[in-house]
């Protein structure tokens, strides 16, 4: 199966990218070994935001077309997104402790925005869990997903302004790898990690989507099964 190849490829790629990031690439002059965390941090962040973009877009698709596939992709995006968001925050904290001296930094827009992103999408998953009827669930979740997507840029801007006004002593951000232009091998390590993680992301999305479709079909046939003789399910008791 194609996905099996994808899975093995992802595994190999992640192993290779990790090896390169840990031993192949040189340490940074300023940040030392801790800078290696940055490769996995940035890669996770990009995929986290990509996942939530997917959820937002497919939420709109569900509301417009009521296509169960849209809801399945939205769910996959949110779950995988939560995974990569948690990874981003964890990596950020592991990087922050040696480099900033502290696990958390309120003025770093990425860290605070990502923490809020996590909260928003945990809420998304929670409202799904608390609704039994598949179509109702998809609609409620879609509203939450779209509001969350609208909120994130607003959050980002507000935190950037917040930082800009209260600029403390200059601190390093995990993104300084690319700004000013970093040595070629750093960029290579980042791109390698991003590519490997993207393969893993794709594998996770495809399989989570499949599981969601199977669950939906199982739920639908169970609802129909409870009321033999009816083609469409009657309204279920309040979830």
């Amino acid at each position: 199966m194609a996905t099996r190849v994808l899975g093995i490829g992802a595994l190999v790629a992640v192993a290779g990218a990790t090896t390169f990031a840990l031993v192949g690439v040189a340490a940074d002059l300023n940040q030392g070994e801790a800078q290696r965390i940055m490769y996995i941090h940035v890669a996770s962040a990009w995929l986290a935001y990509l996942s939530f973009g997917v959820t937002a877009a497919t939420s709109v698709w569900w509301l417009v077309r009521r296509d169960p596939r849209a809801d399945a992709i939205a769910l996959a995006g949110a779950e995988v997104g939560v995974l990569f968001t948690a990874a981003t925050i964890w990596a950020g904290m592991m990087w922050g402790r040696p480099v900033w001296g502290t696990y958390w930094q309120w003025e770093d827009p990425r860290l605070t925005t990502t923490a809020l992103l996590l909260a928003l999408y945990v809420g998304y998953l929670l409202i799904r869990r608390l609704t039994d009827e598949p179509a109702r669930r998809a609609t409620r979740a879609a509203v939450v997903g779209i509001v969350a997507a609208i909120d994130i840029p607003i959050v980002h801007f507000s935190v950037v302004w917040w930082r800009g006004l209260h600029q403390g002593p200059t601190f390093m951000s995990p993104d300084t790898i690319l700004n000013p232009p970093a040595p070629g091998q750093f960029v290579a390590a980042l791109l390698l990690m991003l590519g490997a993680f993207s393969l893993a992301w794709l594998w996770l999305m495809v399989n989570r989507y499949r599981l969601a479709r199977l669950d939906w079909e199982a739920e639908e046939s169970a609802r129909r099964g409870r009321l033999p003789g009816l083609v469409a399910a009657a309204p279920a008791p309040r979830p």
């Binding site: 809420g123 409202i127 609609t139 509203v143 609208i150 607003i154 959050v155 801007f157 302004w161």
Partner: protein
Amino acid sequence: MTAVVRHLAVARAIAAKDLRAELRGRQAVTSTLFLAALTLLIFGFALGPDRASLAAAGPGLLWLAVILSGVLAVGRLHQLEMEDGAFELLALYPVPRAAIYLGKAIGGLAAMLALGALVLPLTVVLYALDVASALPGLVLVIGLGALGFAAIGTLYAGLTVRLRAREVLLPLLLLPVVAPLLLAAVSATASLLAGDPLGELGAWLQLLIGYDLAMLLAGGLTYGLALEE
């Protein structure tokens, strides 16, 4: 033009009904006023007694009290209706969904403004804030904050009112979404009280207005989906 008039008439009718119910003792919002006052008192115990640090924390505590009580208020505005069975009737009325949203949101706005009107003088007293010169600006900020919170709070309250776990789910959904509103409102309040030394007030007001518009739009477009069963 008549469509707009119809929307407004429906919204007004719904808001008026909510107000009448409240005045007749429904206690959806009035109990949250007491809670807001209590929150401010408790904050004092938690963060005091140093007056200087309490005064510095004043803007934040003001908005925390408003928002935490506000979550309950918007929730109850839907919940009590639900318990009376009136919410289902509301959903069945052949009126534009956006008009229903507007009516409920006006009720929510009134609740939030009431909270703000109570919390502001209390914060002045309890945390020794000097608001005299900044009062007009503060009223504006409270108004904008109240509007944004009512806009998204009404939508999410309608979305969660039928769920068993709504008491936990509503704050869980609302608090992250209103984080930028909170940030902007607190920053604007603090800046007003300090005389806007950094010239940042305009930016925060813009953010509040942008937030309000975005949430009103989201609510107007999707509240109908929350109503349908």
